[in-house]
């Protein structure tokens, strides 16, 4: 069973992904599985910033990796693999968001969801206060990130969850580096403003 618990490798060198993709292009299914293992967590986190429901996020994740295989011959080895896969993932995530999540941000479901989270985290014996606080903060931050305008969310998501450099993001989004920087600035300031209001969770003293 232990061998099934595959640990993902973070910050894997891009050259490794490129080498694996070369093998995938030649039909090597082991290399394909390795690519999935290597990127599944990072891609999931990027998708999750668009898609709230974990089951939907898993579906989008699977669609993304299936598309990676279908479109494997369109990947150019001179381009960043991360950029290519995140483009696929973001497009799929945006599609799903448009179809199912938009306009539901303040629905009854949302209220019930937050109550559920609250009761799950505040039940007696649920753990030390610190971890409860960290959980609440995480959920509030996730919610705030999803409320950012699309371009700002893209930049934050690719920078922090996709672990990309600002220059890579500019190439991926096909916009000037200055635009990426200004969107990142606006995003951080918006998050700061949104979270500042929740003093119980975010300690600003």
């Amino acid at each position: 069973m232990n061998s099934m618990a595959q640990q993902e490798i973070s910050n894997e060198p891009a050259s490794n992904a490129a080498e694996l993709m070369n093998r995938v292009q030649q039909g090597d299914m082991n290399a394909y599985q390795e690519i999935v293992r290597l990127y599944q967590r990072r891609v999931y986190r990027v998708i999750s910033s668009y898609v709230r429901n974990p089951d939907d996020a898993m579906e989008v994740l699977q669609d993304t990796f299936l598309k990676v295989h279908t479109a494997r011959h369109t990947w150019d080895k001179n381009c960043s693999f991360s950029g290519w896969i995140y483009r696929i993932a973001i497009n799929a995530g945006i599609d799903r968001y448009r179809r199912s999540d938009r306009g539901r941000s303040s629905s009854l479901e949302d209220v019930m969801e937050s109550q559920l989270h609250e009761s799950a985290t505040s039940r007696p014996g649920g753990g030390p206060m610190d971890s409860i606080r960290a959980g609440e903060r995480r959920r509030a931050l996730e919610k705030a990130v999803r409320r950012l305008p699309q371009r700002q969310r893209e930049v934050v998501s690719l920078r922090y969850f996709g672990e990309m450099q600002l220059e890579e993001i500019a190439t991926l989004l096909d916009c000037p580096l200055g635009t990426v920087k200004s969107n990142l600035h606006k995003a951080i300031m918006s998050l700061k403003a949104m979270l500042h209001a929740q003093k119980g969770v975010f300690d600003y003293e």
């Binding site: 990796f65 995480r138 990142l184």
Partner: protein, 254 residues
């Protein structure tokens, strides 16, 4: 000293290390004497720290998550087989026109021959492949039976795994028998492999793929497995509705 109004818009990029050297020096000089901008910088650093939390937007890493690479590889392989089989049936649009022209030409040639030449003796009649058709039918029947038997054995094993409660000390559960049954079923699955490659077996093949992952998982377990691992498997069985899907397929097969 520069005004806070000019410095504050640079603080996020300063924290990111994305400023040019002269801008960076300007910000550092300002920060050394401005408590207000220092507070602002600290607030930005906090947000960046929270965003760097690896658990933010993180997936629930259960068994389905760990099996994702294998599952996707199986899904990628499945349509390839179907596509290969379907390929001869796909024709470009012009092929239909070409076929019509060829058929017309053949008809004309036949009509001309019929009118001009003497009747010829018919050649030897093709041998009807009756035996082959019979053998093919038998093979299909055998494949169905073998698949139904395999699914039945898998279902029994899954139920036993879900109900396993013989402890072998502490929190660990004795699954020695289940492990050896899983190994046997994996061997059985290998023998079924060819039969499952036909396009009609796509659904069975998909389910068998998922069952195989679980069997591999179980076969690699220790004889005294932890309760957590078994609960993990149980969750997977329930989440993927494996028992229900086996039932549905069995009624379809029989």
């Amino acid at each position: 000293m520069s005004s806070c109004m000019y410095i504050q818009p640079l603080l996020v990029l300063y924290a990111e290390g994305a400023l040019e050297r002269d801008e960076k020096q300007l910000v550092e000089a300002h920060l050394s004497g401005c408590p207000q901008c220092n507070d602002e910088a600290a607030g930005i650093a906090r947000i960046r720290g929270w965003l760097a939390d690896p658990e933010l937007f993180a997936p629930q890493q259960d068994m389905a998550w760990r099996l994702l690479p294998e599952k996707l590889a199986a899904r990628v392989r499945a349509p390839q087989v179907e596509q290969k089989r379907r390929f001869p049936l796909r024709f470009p649009k012009w092929a239909f026109s070409a076929a019509a022209v060829v058929a017309l030409a053949c008809g004309l040639v036949w009509m001309m021959r019929y009118r001009t030449s003497a009747p010829q003796l018919a050649g030897p009649a093709p041998i009807r492949a009756g035996n082959e058709a019979f053998l093919e039918r038998m093979r299909t029947v055998y494949a169905r039976e073998a698949t139904a038997q395999y699914l039945n054995a898998c279902q029994e094993l899954l139920l036993d795994v879900m109900n396993a409660d013989t402890t072998c000390g502490g929190e660990r559960v004795d699954v020695a028998l289940e492990v050896s049954r899983a190994r046997e079923l994996l061997r059985q699955k290998q023998r079924l492999e060819t039969d499952l490659q036909v396009p009609e077996a796509a659904r069975v093949r998909d389910l068998c793929g998922q069952l195989e992952h679980l069997l591999i998982n179980l076969s690699m377990s220790s004889e005294c497995e932890s309760g957590d691992t078994l609960r993990d498997m149980e969750r997977y069985i329930k989440k993927e509705q494996l028992l229900l899907r086996i039932n549905l397929l069995q009624s379809g097969i029989s």
